[in-house]
Amino acid sequence: MKNIISYFCLAPFLMVLASCGNTPYLPNQEKVLQRADLEARIQHAEELIQQHRLYDALVQYQVLNTIDPRSTTFKNKLAALTEETKKKSKHFEKLANKFKHAGNVNAARNALLKALSYEPRNRSLLHQVRSLEQQRVMSVQIAKLDRIKGKRKKTVLATAEEKVPEHVSDPQESAYLEMGTELYGEGDWEGSVREISKYLASNSEDEKAQQLLLKSLMNLAQEQISSGEMQIAAHTLLKTNELPLPNEVKIENGIRRLKLSLAESLYEKGVKSYREDLTLAIKHLKLASDLDPSHRKAKIRLKKAYQLEQRLKSIVDSGS
């Protein structure tokens, strides 16, 4: 009786086992072949041929050949399409060369792209079209640089007080000036100096921007002096030397006053540090002398400091 029960238990188990299993054994290739819709894919490939999309058709026949590698029809189609796409690619490559020789870069590029569309894995074609792209983009760049260099040569006078000058054509450059002006309005002198300087890098003759930069530099130096950053302030003020004179007397006087008072403070600092830290003293005196070239005492002290530094150096050298 026990056996009977155990057999009846075994049967459903076997049923479950069988339902989990596959259909009667067939190699994968056959199973795919059985279930794949070959007709639809062939029809699609043929439609592509009708539309002259030979490479796309070739891809479809490659897939068909993967599904049924024994089919001679697929193999023959593949061979024919491979040959045809190569022929087309060669034709467009030749055409591209003709256009290149005639100096028609755009047409040459389009012909090469057409060649590549028939042979997308052809690296040589890709390199050829990339080289044409390099020529195209480089010519745009050279034209821009010539424009900038040209601008540098001629003096362009800005007209309206708060407007971006009309000659500014590059959107990024004009944006830097706009931003610098905005930051100036907000009292962000550091930001204003930075952005206007960026603009002036390509528009160095723009007087309006130069004047705004002078004002920003003056205000920034004032702020730095107030927070005790004497050396930094000196460097900020020295940047005004690279710009033309301010056209507002108020600004001109303001910058001059700042330079003189800072030169005096730095001279005093230089004298103080002369005995303790000669390197620091030289730094201070040099800045004082640069800020106020008429500061005779600073010049004399600086000369002495250099001489002393030289003597100390030779002592150290002879000692070693």
Partner: protein, 344 residues
């Protein structure tokens, strides 16, 4: 006793036969059920040199197939694109290309283009270089809602160098200079949409009042979403030799402007360097030569336009996004395909 044993043995054999009968019936039954599509069939596949053809099983999805054949789910788009499908259904015939048949994304009458967007500052909408938070949010939402794939610049490097294609509607986001608003305004929005971006830093700016701090840079970089690449040391126009500057001095200056920011970035956050953004977007043979010597893969300009697999890698075009751009203008910049015949 023997008769009893024999009876039992006969009975055993009988039940053996019944069990085997059940088994055969079960197998047959399943075949019939399967033929009637009442039971899900397993996946079957055949692998060739360049393609795998799969008849999808009930458990297959684009992601699972991508994971199996490409090693990463994120490549699911490649299968979707090749088969022109958005999802896998049981019994679908799916072709998985093992070798990309279109590595340059050049097709019979068109080719793929990738716009690289270029931002600067965020937060104030009334000046050109500053895009307001609201506008940036709207622009990112537009990309998200309209099926654009924001890819990293590194992915674009692989596309241009190795022919590793990127999704059809790919867009790259870059942010120049390293303003602090990149962290305070743009980063949270990029995180929300999981959009990668590359920030180009000019290192003399670091430490300024409105510049990014290194801990902010680190935090963004470590998120895996934001890459950091150099944008020169002091933001000069590297393509222009200064008046009274000797050729030797110019070369030294170019070398310094390329190597110093790269050095800072690798030292501070250990980011591998691959792309250099030219200040003002300007470059020349000297600068490009320096980038090649330092093994950079790409250089980005601000020449407006889009890029393709055949773009010159050291002069990629970028689209500047300004504060006064409307959403319509923004959308017009997102060209991701061009006809061969009509392309300039």
């Amino acid at each position: 006793m023997n008769i009893a044993r024999r009876k039992t043995a006969t009975l055993h054999s009988f039940f053996h036969l019944i069990a085997i009968g059940f088994f055969v019936l079960a197998v047959q039954g399943c075949t019939v059920l399967k033929a009637l599509h009442l039971l899900p069939e397993e996946r079957v596949s055949v692998k060739g040199k360049d393609y795998v053809v799969v008849i999808a099983g009930w458990q297959d999805s684009l992601e699972s197939l991508a994971e199996e054949y490409y090693g990463q789910e994120s490549d699911a788009w490649r299968i979707a694109e090749f088969n022109n499908i958005s999802e896998v259904h049981h019994n679908d015939e799916i072709v998985i290309p093992l070798v990309d048949p279109y590595p340059s994304a050049i097709y019979s009458d068109s080719y793929q283009t990738v716009p690289i967007l270029c931002y600067h500052r965020f937060g104030k909408g009334h000046i050109k270089l500053s895009v307001s938070e609201k506008n940036f949010q709207e622009q990112m939402k537009y990309l998200y809602d309209n099926g654009y794939e924001v890819i990293s610049l590194k992915q674009f490097v692989d596309f241009i160098e190795k022919g590793k294609r990127v999704p059809q509607k790919s867009v790259v986001i870059t942010i120049d200079d390293g303003y602090r608003s990149t962290y305070t305004v743009a980063y949270p929005i990029l995180k929300k949409y999981n959009f990668p971006a590359t920030v180009f830093l000019y290192t003399d700016f670091m430490g300024a009042r409105d510049a990014l701090k290194w801990d902010q840079i680190k935090s963004m970089y470590n998120s895996g979403l934001i890459d950091m690449q150099p944008h020169s040391k002091s933001h000069p126009n590297m393509a222009i030799q200064k008046t009274n500057e000797s050729s030797t001095d110019y070369k030294v200056r170019v070398r310094e402007e390329v190597s110093v920011p790269g050095g800072h970035i690798t030292q501070k956050i250990k980011a591998p360097l691959h792309t250099f953004a030219y200040p003002y977007g300007d470059t020349n043979e000297e600068v490009i030569g320096e980038l090649k010597a330092k093994k950079y893969s790409l250089g980005v300009t601000v020449i407006p336009g889009v890029n393709s697999s055949f773009s010159y890698p050291y002069m990629l075009k970028r689209t500047m996004i300004f504060g006064d751009h409307t959403l319509k203008q923004f959308a017009q910049e997102l060209t991701t395909s061009r006809d061969i015949a009509s392309s300039e």
